[in-house]
């Protein structure tokens, strides 16, 4: 399809605003309060075109909340988010239309639709056919459907799910469901892809495959912002890493810089605050668990249900 919106957001042909080194995402002073709790506090973050940026931090640090603020699921209490120089509206469908797509920490596929249909839904913003066109079924409609399907099949091949096109999403294995979420997000031809713990619950082979996939996505020209607990993934993949602790950005820099930063080590392993040994141990265990098991932990499960009302 040669719609205007398509050409300005297709990763293969990035618009003029996103030349090499251009800023794709620019979040300034993003703050999110839930009543008395400040989940995200004054976070600034930029993602440049062609970059993979990592976002790490202990469970409950506010990473997912930050993502929700970026994608319009939550209206941040303060701060602005710009995509390629324009401020993003606080409506998630408009954010996707602008070119920011995401996956969810707790997989949210359309469980009773087939794999192909899931990806086709992802193409919603890149196709225009309305109800009249569907009812009248002119040649334009057929052409658009055919092209959407071709594009969806390309994405399924890209993610290795093409043999599963007619399976229900709910019947896929866990790792495949995560891949399908990525394929569905890519279908909207985003300039920036937000991945919320893409390897959570995966075995080492699947994690490796996901790394390859993320690299391939970057090669296609889509910038990636990824929340991840698997440190090997982060240090292998990311150009830059930001660390979020208790809603605040602690450090930002290259993986090497972040890895050797004492505050990060302390935050991840937990510094005894009032000299309580018990708490530091608990934090250590939690962090270790998070690194190994990843995102299906309890902090994630509370988020899913509430997201919807965030508008």
């Amino acid at each position: 399809m040669n719609h205007m919106t398509t050409t300005s957001t297709t990763p293969a042909t990035p618009g003029p605003a996103a030349g090499p080194g251009g800023t794709v995402l620019e979040a300034t002073g993003v703050t999110m309060r839930f009543g008395g709790l400040t989940a995200v506090r004054g976070v600034d973050l930029t993602v440049d075109s062609g970059e993979i940026v990592g976002l790490i931090g202990p469970n409950g640090a506010g990473k997912t909340t930050f993502f929700n603020c970026l994608t319009g699921l939550y209206v941040p209490t303060e701060g602005t988010v710009k995509y390629r120089g324009t401020v993003l509206p606080h409506r998630s469908h408009l954010v996707t239309k602008a070119g920011v797509a995401r996956t969810f920490q707790n997989i949210r596929l359309f469980a009773n639709m087939t794999v192909l249909e899931n990806v086709l839904v992802g193409r919603h913003t890149r196709t225009k056919e309305g109800l009249w066109s569907a009812l009248l079924r002119g040649p334009g409609f057929r052409k658009a459907e055919r092209e959407s399907e071709e594009r969806a099949m390309e994405l399924l091949e890209f993610t290795g799910l093409d043999t599963k096109r007619d399976h229900l999403a709910r019947n896929l294995a866990y790792g495949e469901q995560r891949k399908l979420e990525i394929a569905r997000a890519l279908a909207s031809e985003p300039g920036l892809l937000l991945l919320d713990e893409p390897t959570a619950g995966m075995n080492p082979q699947e994690t490796m495959a996901t790394q390859e996939l993320v690299r391939a996505i970057r090669r296609q020209g889509t910038a990636v912002l990824v929340i991840e607990h698997d440190m090997r993934f982060i240090f292998n993949m990311c150009d830059r890493v930001a660390v979020l602790v208790q809603g605040e950005k602690l450090v930002e820099g290259s993986p090497q810089v972040v890895q050797s930063d004492e505050r990060v080590v302390a935050a991840y392993l937990g510094t005894p605050f009032e000299g309580e040994p018990g708490e530091s141990e608990a934090a250590e265990v939690r962090a270790a668990e998070a690194r190994e098991a990843g995102g299906t932990s309890s902090s994630g499960s509370g988020e899913g249900k509430k997201e919807g009302e965030g508008k």
Partner: protein, 598 residues
């Protein structure tokens, strides 16, 4: 090692066949089944009772009547399937999937019909003394048939780890059938002939049901057809047939519509054409509701109000002497008026309410539905402006005249006499066709996928770029216009529109509760589901007048049972089939989406 040893967990070899409910030797069970079915078959040619006081005239030898015809049909099918299951040459095509499970179901249906008939005779005439020898033979043969069929071994091997042992488990297991292999592809003309034959048979079965003259026969009809359809599903014929119809989609739809057009011609009595017309109105509105509920997942409890808007709009411009507007629009303009009015009403109700999710929407639509009815009741000149004549409604709506063809008069076309209701039936059928087309086309498009996505997970759908509010409003408004369109015909069919026709729940369909029930009972998100659901919901109370007092109670019980045992409804949506009966099987190819187990 035998499967029954406690260490069967380690047993990797396939376990032997699971016995049926009754542990008979297989060959005895087979012979008993054949003998029982033959017995019932022959008995239908004998007199079952001595007096014609029981309806259907079961007193004549060599001439099956009424319930005997049903028993005869059931026994014949049982016999054919039983012979096919035994590998008789030329009948193998009947059972590509399950072998014994269809026989068991047919036997249950035949025995139920026969025993019910015998019991009804005894009850109606006052005792078993009223049975002729033929009746006794029928009863005894059906018991033999039942025993034989319940002794047939199951089609599928039991679970190697936990084989079904208790009688209850064995009974449930014996209903399971393996899925058939893919059938051969026949030449096109042969497949089209098959479709024509099946559609013709469907019309025959439907017409028979609609024209059953007394309640006992209708019960027998429900028993026979219900079990027979389940048996055909188990036998794998259903699956084969869907493969054929999928190859000739347009031919199938066209054949179905031709059959529906032929229906009034097959009716000798205008009374049954009346039923047909009312069923069609109900079914069309139910299909419109299916866009809202089945596709977009919006629980609308006040849907009948849109039918009312269309009907009132058409009545006001119909030229009725009691209409407060002194105009008479041609039919096409009246239809557009009805569509326009319901569209406006739909958007006005939808715009504020569709921002709500789930339960709130249901409550608000329920409220709006009632507000519509009460508003129509109060616009009588005393409580408000006189628009609708209040509770008296708008009577004397004149018959339609389309291209000089007065639908109120009897016409003779091709030698068939078409009365008033046949005319309206045919007119309504065009509208049903439009709604079917709209449903199918919107379902299989970007818009339909967005609706289903919203139904599945609204937050994720929004994150995929779907403007959920807009699309929900679109579904709601489309549903409203479809109902409004049906309403414009309904006003003319019923002569009168009154507020009480559009209640939330009433004994007579259509009303919001029954519309929703038709959709859920028939199968959400399907085309044929609501049509079948609406036909059943209309016919059952119509035919079984004796249970009128308990109708809502029985209806409730039936709905609860259905939701327990077949939550996807009678006709399963391709997607729903796996949602509710998860086989635990991860690799289900496209052709493999079908009913799994009981």
């Amino acid at each position: 090692m035998t499967p029954t040893t406690p260490t069967a967990t380690a047993d990797k070899t396939a376990p032997g066949p699971v016995p049926g409910l009754l542990k008979l030797p297989a060959h005895i069970a087979r012979w008993a089944t054949l003998a029982g079915a033959t017995g019932v078959l022959l008995s239908t040619f004998l007199a079952w009772t001595w007096t014609a006081a029981f309806p259907g005239n079961l007193t004549v030898d060599l001439y099956p009547g009424g319930l005997q015809v049903l028993a005869l049909t059931g026994a014949l099918l049982t016999l054919l399937f039983a012979l096919s299951a035994q590998g008789v040459r030329g009948l193998g095509w009947l059972t590509p999937g399950g072998k014994h499970s269809p026989v068991l179901l047919l036997a249950l249906g035949t025995a139920a019909t026969t025993l019910y008939s015998v019991a009804a005779i005894a009850q109606k005439l006052g005792g078993l003394v009223n049975l002729e020898p033929g009746g006794w033979i029928a009863g005894i043969a059906s018991v033999v048939l039942l025993v034989g069929a319940l002794g047939l071994p199951a089609d599928t091997p039991g679970d190697a780890v936990r084989p079904p042992t208790s009688p209850h488990q064995r009974l449930l297991h014996s209903f399971k059938a393996p899925t058939p292999e893919r059938g051969p592809v026949l030449p096109s003309w042969a497949e089209i002939l098959i479709i024509a034959a099946v559609v013709g048979a469907g019309l025959e079965v439907f017409a028979y049901g609609i024209s059953t003259p007394y309640g006992e026969l209708f019960i027998g009809y429900l028993l026979t057809t219900g079990f027979a359809l389940a048996a055909i599903t188990r036998s794998g014929l259903n699956r084969r047939l869907s493969a054929v119809t999928a190859r000739h989609r347009n031919v199938t739809v066209a054949a179905a519509f031709i059959a529906a057009f032929i229906f009034p011609l097959t009716q000798t009595s205008e009374a049954y054409a009346t039923l047909g017309a009312y069923i069609l109105i109900f079914a069309t509105v139910a299909l419109g509701l299916n866009v809202v509920v089945g596709l977009a997942g919006l629980l609308d409890l006040g849907y009948v109000a849109f039918l009312g808007v269309g009907a009132y709009a058409a009545a006001l411009v119909s030229g009725s002497p009691y209409s407060t507007l002194d105009v008479q629009f041609p039919f096409w303009a009246a239809v557009l008026t009805g569509i326009g009015a319901s569209l406006v009403f739909g958007v006005v109700i939808g715009a504020p309410t569709l921002r709500l999710r789930g339960d709130y929407l249901a409550i608000v639509t329920l409220g709006f539905g009632e507000i519509f009815r009460i508003a129509m009741q109060n616009m009588d000149g005393t409580s408000g402006p006189n628009v609708t004549n209040g509770p008296n409604g708008i009577p004397n709506i004149p018959d339609l005249e389309i291209l000089g063809f007065n639908l109120g008069e009897e016409h003779t076309i091709l030698g068939f006499e078409l009365g008033r209701f046949s005319n309206y039936y045919l007119l309504m059928l065009i509208f049903t066709g439009i709604v079917v087309l709209v449903f199918r086309r919107s379902d299989q498009s970007r818009i339909g996928r967005a609706w289903v996505a919203i139904r599945e997970d609204e937050t994720a759908a929004r994150a995929m770029g779907i403007n959920a509010f807009r699309l929900k409003l679109m579904a709601f408004a489309l549903g409203a216009t479809l109902a409004g369109m049906a309403g414009t015909v309904q006003a003319h069919v019923t002569f009168t529109v009154t507020p009480t026709q559009y209640k939330f729940v009433e004994v007579v369909p259509p009303n919001s509760a029954f519309l929703l029930a038709a959709v859920i009972l028939g199968g959400m998100g399907t085309v044929s589901g609501p049509l079948i659901g609406a036909a059943l919901l209309y016919l059952i109370p119509e035919k079984l007048e004796f249970m009128a007092e308990y109708q809502l109670l029985l209806f409730g019980i039936a709905l609860v049972l259905l939701m327990r045992f077949r939550p996807e409804g009678l006709v399963a949506d391709r997607r729903k089939q796996l949602e509710f009966h998860d086989t635990g099987q991860l690799d289900v190819p496209k052709a493999g989406l079908t009913k799994a187990g009981v």
